[in-house]
Amino acid sequence: MLGYIINRIIYLIPTLFIMSLVVFSFIALIPGDPVDAILGLNASEEARAAVRAELGLDRNILVQYLSWAGGIVTGDFGTSLTSGEPVMKLILEKLPATLLLAFASILISVFIAVLAGTIAAVNKGNWLDIGVLVAALAGISIPVFWIAILSVLLFSVHLQILPSIGYVSLLEDPILALRHLALPSICMGAALAGGIARMTRSEMIEQLSKDYVITARAKGLSPNEVTYRHALRNSLITVVTFTGLELGTILSGAIIVETIFAWPGLGRMAIDAIFTRDYPTVQGVVLFMAFFFVFVNLLVDISYTFLNPQIRLGGKK
């Protein structure tokens, strides 16, 4: 087990290295002189020299990369060109808002999707199952920004029961914070729920056809007990793993949802940085989110293998 975890961590090193190269190349990909792109053509020579020095553009590209990557390893993601503050400090300020949004949307999506997926599996082939399948496919197909616009129209503009923009800290005013959290998290939750419901349904159908379920039924357990105590419990391992791996969808969704709802998280920070041409911040946020995604995948992988006795006990995977 420990050997497996160490292997997985070592395996990550080349992945992280290549990811850093990709993000580093963002500045190299800017057509022409990056300083022109950042400051415009009319900037003073002093300002240009300052940006050039900040980005290390006067040095050899290999030295630039090594210096930048060295900083990343020690947690230094560079300095924001607009605020002059360390990018890592800005990231850590925005992270709680994104984590809160991600956590709330996962809760909402898992609740809806597991319920819907289980109902579909138990009623396989009838209209309830078809209804869930169609709704899940629609959930996967409808873009999150359209769900967001429609929900703002309904809940904020017409019914006027929920605020359409803004963020309030949970510690400041929990009720108001939850009211602000409702629409963004429901939108992101809806976008996630389709995939999780499909996964729950197929996993439940597989579990319900297994021998232990037949045995449980033969023992005289009620259908509900068989479904919820046995089949659902075993399906949840796969469902939770799948949900963890959906973090990419959550992070992508956060970029859009945070922009629409003026939610002060990492996604909105990235978009703001793009429009102000603050490239160190763009690089820092993209790399941080990508690393975060990789590490959560690693944790999901490790926890899954921990739950799988074949690997935990040193057998074959």
């Binding site: 800017i30 629609a138 990419g248 992508s252 978009i271 995604f293 990789v294």
Partner: protein, 288 residues
């Protein structure tokens, strides 16, 4: 993988395939949706009788009517004409992205799966790293550097999906390469590239076709997301995401500006997803 070799001596084969297609509701529905979009793209926005760029201030903020089926926008432009032009943009981006993803991914995947060893290891580490990026995040980073344009966005989305095609192609090539007919081809002295192109290649197409429909749908969503964020197709070219972004400023004046472009994206993506699911069932080797 999928052995679809059929000889002319099987007179019922076409009829059997047709029955199989007709029985596959997802494939038929997805196919019909796709055909409608293709038809609209071919005939173009002119079929509405309006120029998608022509403003008419007196007709602005109209709801659906016989004259303007999807209403008009804040400049009085016909929304249906803009939506049809947006379909051209979306499908152009989808086609270029899938083309780049397929060519790049199939080449890398075929080399990795067929050659194996050190080269396979290196190529797969690179694809792993690229797969580790959430696609929209990587697209945003790259567009931020290169600047937005329809072609740039298409190329970037294509590059982002190369690793997915590479992974699927590699798996399919490895599965095929261990089969007896490949060993037989090797035994009779055929050159490796001939074996790869003419024997293994055709057998790997099923999963690639299914993936292509899924990536087409994802490309449409990513393009719409980028345009919505102001990082995709630059205005005044109408794109579905850009139209939705514009609609946000006029939500209280004309709800239809937000309804129709969003509905169109959803129907297009739903159609492609249905087609992908239908193709997966249709091309499933278990059925043969």
């Amino acid at each position: 993988m999928t052995d679809v070799t059929q000889t002319p001596s099987q007179p019922s084969s076409w009829g059997r395939e047709w029955r199989k297609i007709r029985g596959n509701k997802m494939l038929v529905t997805g196919g019909i949706v796709l055909l409608i979009f293709l038809l609209a793209i071919i005939v173009g926005p002119e079929i509405t009788g309006y120029d998608y760029a022509k403003m008419s201030i007196r007709e602005r903020f109209q709801g659906p009517s016989f004259a303007h089926w999807m209403g008009t926008d804040n400049y009085g432009r016909d929304t249906l004409a803009k939506v049809i032009h947006g379909a051209r943009v979306a499908f152009f981006v989808g086609a270029i992205s899938v083309g780049i993803g397929m060519v790049g991914g199939m080449t890398i995947g075929a080399i990795a799966g067929f050659v194996g060893g050190f080269i396979d290891n290196i190529l797969m580490r690179i694809t792993d790293a690229l797969l580790a990026f959430p696609p929209l995040l990587l697209a945003i980073g790259l567009v931020a550097a290169t600047g937005p344009s329809t072609t740039t966005v298409s190329v970037i989305i294509g590059i982002i999906y190369i690793p997915r095609f590479a992974r699927v192609m590699r798996g399919a090539v490895m599965a095929e390469a261990s089969k007896e007919y490949v060993e037989a081809a090797r035994a009779v002295g055929q050159e490796p590239w001939r074996i790869l192109f003419f024997h293994i290649g055709p057998a790997t197409l099923s999963p690639i076709i299914v993936l292509a429909t899924v990536v087409f749908a994802l490309a449409i969503i990513i393009e719409a997301s980028l345009s919505f964020l102001g990082l995709g197709v630059p205005p005044p070219t109408p794109s579905w995401g850009g139209m939705l972004s514009e609609s946000r400023s006029f939500m209280t004046k004309n709800i239809w500006m937000a309804i129709f472009p969003g509905l169109t994206i959803s129907v297009a993506v739903l159609g492609l997803n249905l087609l992908g699911d239908g193709l997966r069932d249709y091309l499933d080797p278990k059925d043969y």
